[in-house]
């Protein structure tokens, strides 16, 4: 497994950008790009008040595959990705990914790819609860 991968986790407890940044800290890195996906108070202008994430039992293995591929070929110094499951409030962090590299271009490109591939390939689902009482599984209605 690429030793650039410093932290991969899917957990019920609150996420921390400090934890992720500490995980990718490296004296040879000149730039760290980080992305935080947070719970928005609306979805297509429809007010949301609560969100619940569900992950497949093997989701972490899928996340590892995504992380490995981001590290291949790219000059990634360090990488971390953590995803939250369970109930979240507005403003809570649902996912935090970060990549450190010698230069900012590699860090940005790899970080963007990491979040894009995570969203496309890791079996995680979002149950959105609207203030009007309705709720739906995002992407399945």
């Amino acid at each position: 497994m690429s030793d650039a991968i410093r932290l991969l986790d899917i957990r019920e407890t609150a996420l921390s950008s400090d934890e992720v940044l500490a995980a990718v800290a490296d004296p040879s890195a000149g730039g760290t790009a980080l992305f935080i996906g947070t719970v928005r108070n609306h979805d297509d202008a429809r007010p949301v008040d609560q969100l619940t994430y569900e992950a497949h039992p093997e989701a972490l293995a899928h996340l590892r595959k995504v992380a490995e591929r981001v590290c291949e070929g790219a000059d990634v110094t360090a990488l971390a990705a953590v995803h939250r499951t369970g109930p979240l409030e507005i403003g809570d962090a649902a996912v935090i990914v970060a990549v450190a590299a010698a230069h900012r271009d590699a860090a940005f490109v790899a970080c963007r790819r990491l979040i894009d591939d995570l969203k496309a390939e890791v079996p995680i689902w979002k149950h959105q609860h609207f203030t009007d009482g309705a709720s739906e599984w995002v992407g399945a209605c």
Partner: protein, 79 residues
Amino acid sequence: MPEVTIRYFAAARAAAGESTETAQASSVKELVGAVSADRPELARVLGICSFLLDGERVELTTPLYDGAQVDALPPFAGG
């Protein structure tokens, strides 16, 4: 005819009203057909699902063996 299990997640579980179910099916397609019979909402959701068998992505045409466990995965919405 193999006896197989289907595991539902997220919207599929909501449509099926249960987490798992067993059925007689020799392919993923047959399994989907068996469990969707007269359950239009489940049929709709399974129609947009991807399927896993032993951790690998499989197609509708993939044959099933006795005791196989197929996971029905609605479109992902992580992040």
